[in-house]
């Protein structure tokens, strides 16, 4: 699998010693992780059955820059996916995350790759956050061998097991009991890690969520339920779907925290707080107040159930990348031009990854029959015409 980033000729590191966790390793100031910068969240946290954490968060220039760079890359990836879908290179379902980047970036900053994440189908950026590569993402979207699931999963089924990212699920709400199961395993094995089970405001009404939450609370599982409330379950606004859209309170006896999901630092602080809580006291719910610019999926223009003014309003007032831009400029960590250059570089990286992905071949026909089982015992499987096409499953 071509995981190596072959774009290095274009993007020579400016600082050889750079150990930035960002995708683009080349700003000298992005290695500064000793200077402390204190930022305040846009709004205070609201707690349910818990004392909310402080609004003041310590960060470093390195972290600030990496947040900006990583989010710019994610934003670019999703916008490029939009074009690819319209040119029919991506088929079926494609659910885009632009607008919500701060949630996954903030979360990653608070946790390790041994903490598990599981989410639904709006998973491209979360995959990237877990260490997934652009090439693997685009190749998977286009159904090619170079994809993270070798082209057999598609947009909704990205996984990265070695980074404890368990997908990528198409059935609304199913990922929450699965996430509690991951937490069960972590507790069973006496690990010091937690699981973040992410779901939307639409999934928040699913019965299985409450079944799993009850068990997680009963058994003190280190499960953190993260509701990415983008206020619309497909085309249904939250007030039309939930009698009580205060999703952070829906856990009743389970504590909850309402977080500004467009503020990466608020997300980071909340996730840090939640991890500490979950390891000691069991489950907690985080409600991320966020927004998606695209419709539910590429089949949805996103304007029949909300106004264009609302969308542009959020873009102007609350965009997560713009927020970081202002912060970086305010702290003099980079100039406007330098930030624009980072965004241009992101665009280049994305374009490069797309052209590489286009060169990745479609899966071999024999792959129709691979991975049905881990152990197939030589059993026979059949194609549409079983006299014409048969295979032995190894």
């Amino acid at each position: 699998m071509a995981l190596a980033r072959r774009s290095s000729t274009l993007l020579k590191p400016l600082s050889a010693a750079s150990s930035s966790s960002s995708f683009l390793h080349r700003r000298p100031f992005s290695t500064d992780d000793t200077t402390t910068i204190t930022v305040e969240t846009s709004v205070p946290f609201t707690g349910h059955n818990c004392e909310p954490p402080s609004r003041s968060i310590d960060t470093t220039p390195k972290e600030l820059m990496s947040f900006f760079t990583d989010m710019a890359l994610m934003r670019r990836m999703e916008i490029a996916a939009d074009s690819l879908y319209k040119s029919k290179l991506i088929r079926g379902f494609c659910h885009l995350y632009d607008g919500q980047e701060a949630v996954c970036i903030g979360m990653e900053a608070a946790i390790t790759k041994k903490d598990c994440i599981i989410t639904a189908y709006r998973d491209h950026c979360i995959f990237l956050g877990r260490g997934g590569k652009l090439l693997e993402s685009f190749a998977e979207l286009m159904g090619r061998q170079g994809g993270c699931s070798r082209g057999k999963g598609g947009s909704m089924h990205f996984y990265k097991k070695e980074a404890c990212f368990f997908g990528g699920h198409g059935i609304v709400g199913a990922q929450v009991p699965l996430g509690c199961g991951l937490a069960f395993a972590q507790k069973y094995r006496k690990e010091d890690h937690v699981t973040f089970a992410m779901y939307g405001d639409g999934a928040a009404n699913q019965g299985q969520l409450f079944e799993a939450l009850n068990m997680a609370a009963l058994w003190d599982l280190p499960a953190i339920l993260v509701c990415e409330n983008n206020h619309y379950g497909m085309g249904t606004a939250e007030w039309r779907a939930a009698k009580s859209p205060a999703y952070y309170k829906r856990g009743d006896y389970v504590p909850g925290l309402k977080v500004d999901g467009m503020d990466a630092f608020a997300v980071k602080q909340a996730c840090k707080f939640a991890k500490e809580h979950a390891l000691k006291n069991g489950p907690i719910i985080l409600e991320m107040d966020t927004y998606r610019y695209h419709g539910h999926s590429m089949s949805d223009p996103g304007s029949t159930y909300r106004t264009r003014d609302e969308i542009s309003g959020v873009r102007q007032e609350r965009d997560p990348i713009e927020r970081l831009r202002k912060l970086i400029l305010a702290h003099d960590l980079a100039t406007e031009k330098e930030l624009k250059d980072i965004e241009k570089l992101a665009r280049k990286e994305v374009d490069e990854a797309i052209s590489q992905a286009k060169e990745s071949p479609m899966p071999d026909e024999s792959e129709l029959f691979t991975n049905v089982y881990r152990k197939g015992y030589g059993v026979e499987s059949f194609g549409a015409d079983r006299k014409e096409l048969r295979a032995t499953l190894p």
């Binding site: 997908g167 059935i171 699965l178 199961g181 409450f210 991975n371 049905v372 089982y373 015992y377 059993v379």
Partner: protein
């Protein structure tokens, strides 16, 4: 709730005669079956077979745990998990609330992370509440992730009719689960089957649906020293010829194997030598053994308790027609549950499920030896 009805499960032998109403023939290990068990000395109930298999696999692998309703303190709704809580503790024998969708999902998530859950459904009728997790979260994961996420989970519990439990508690799910690629579906009959297949299922890296039968739990079968050994496993996907014959092939699984063997005895007295195949595995289906048998006998009767449409017999018939058409001397016959929701009244319930005389009649028909059919012919 089912658990309350079954409080006296310990005295299982009493229970099976209770519910069978007018049905005179009790399930008893047929003495002729003994000839197929090598150097058989000990007898073991299916219940004990399952219990010992679980016990041994939990002892051998710390990743194996049991989860379900009443599996712990209650000692198991049907006492299959008796004693395991005392031995392994509440972290490995986990009592759940009555939330199948929730705990099936939790089980699959634990399997994603590398544990080996054995999830018990009190009966498979309740698995319908969790079927999305069995199929979409478990069965398809290895394929969708191109082999990265396998799901070593076992879903087990009683399947099919019991005695007098009514329509919502009597359905057989072999056909439904058997159609899903990515699942393995096992159907033990004897204690040997129960031990060997459950151990294989637990050790298997893929999701296994393990369909037991409540009325078989109390039945005893001879078990050899080999079967009692803790390393005893049966291969998945291989049927067993319970009784060799040359005139007609009868396929069956679970409780119906016992009925088919009894039918074979009756047929023997009438000069029809029946071969009885115990399927043991619905998916993978042992088409090779079935077809080889039909090529030998040239006649086939399939037996199952489930609904006939889109059932196991339908698949077996299609397989034989596709692969061995030239060898058939008569059309394939299907004996299955009646095409109705299960009634409660004992006489109606008896009519709703195959009886030994149904199997005998079909075998004779397929051998062109029956009396003229009364109402339906031509």
């Amino acid at each position: 709730m089912l658990g309350i009805l079954r409080q006296k499960v310990g005295g299982a032998t009493g229970l099976s005669s209770q519910g069978l109403g007018n049905h005179m023939l009790r399930l008893r290990p047929v003495t002729s079956a003994l000839r197929n068990y090598s150097s058989a000395t000990k007898e073991m109930t299916v219940r004990d077979a399952l219990n010992s298999a679980l016990d041994e696999e939990m002892a051998a692998d710390p990743n194996v745990f049991v989860m379900g309703e009443e599996v712990g303190e209650y000692q198991g709704a049907y006492k299959i998990t008796k004693g395991l809580l005392d031995k392994y503790g509440p972290e490995r024998v986990v009592d759940t609330p009555i939330t199948e969708a929730g705990f099936a999902g939790i089980g699959v998530g634990a399997a994603y992370h590398g544990l080996r859950p054995v999830i018990e459904f009190m009966t498979f009728n309740f698995s319908m509440q969790a079927i999305d997790h069995i199929i979409n979260s478990a069965a398809k994961s290895n394929y969708m992730s191109a082999g990265k996420i396998n799901v070593p989970i076992v879903f087990r519990g009683p399947n099919g009719p019991a005695a007098g439990v009514g329509a919502q508690h009597s359905q057989c799910y072999g056909g439904w689960y058997g159609s899903v690629p990515g699942l393995k579906v096992l159907v033990p009959y004897s204690s040997e089957d129960a031990r060997g297949l459950l151990k294989s299922a637990i050790r298997d890296p893929d999701p296994v649906v393990f369909l037991e039968n409540e009325l078989l739990y109390g039945e005893s079968f001879p078990v050899s020293a080999e079967v009692l050994d803790s390393s005893f496993c049966l291969p998945i996907g291989k049927a067993k010829i319970e009784r060799e014959g040359k005139d007609v092939t009868i396929t069956a699984f679970s409780k119906m194997v016992g009925y088919a063997l009894k039918a074979a005895e009756i047929l023997e007295k009438e000069g029809i030598n029946a071969e009885v195949i115990n399927l043991r595995s619905i998916r993978p289906l042992d088409r090779a053994t079935i077809n080889a048998s039909v090529r030998k006998t040239n006649r086939l009767v399939t037996v199952e308790e489930g609904f006939p449409q889109h059932g196991i017999g339908a698949e077996i018939c299609a397989s034989v027609v596709e692969d061995s058409f030239g060898y058939l001397d008569a059309p394939v016959e299907r004996i299955a549950g009646a095409d109705v929701p299960t009634p409660y009244a004992a006489n109606l319930e008896r009519m709703a499920f195959p009886q030994i005389e149904d199997i005998v009649r079909a075998a004779k028909r397929v051998c062109y030896r029956s009396a003229p059919i009364s109402a339906t012919a031509s």
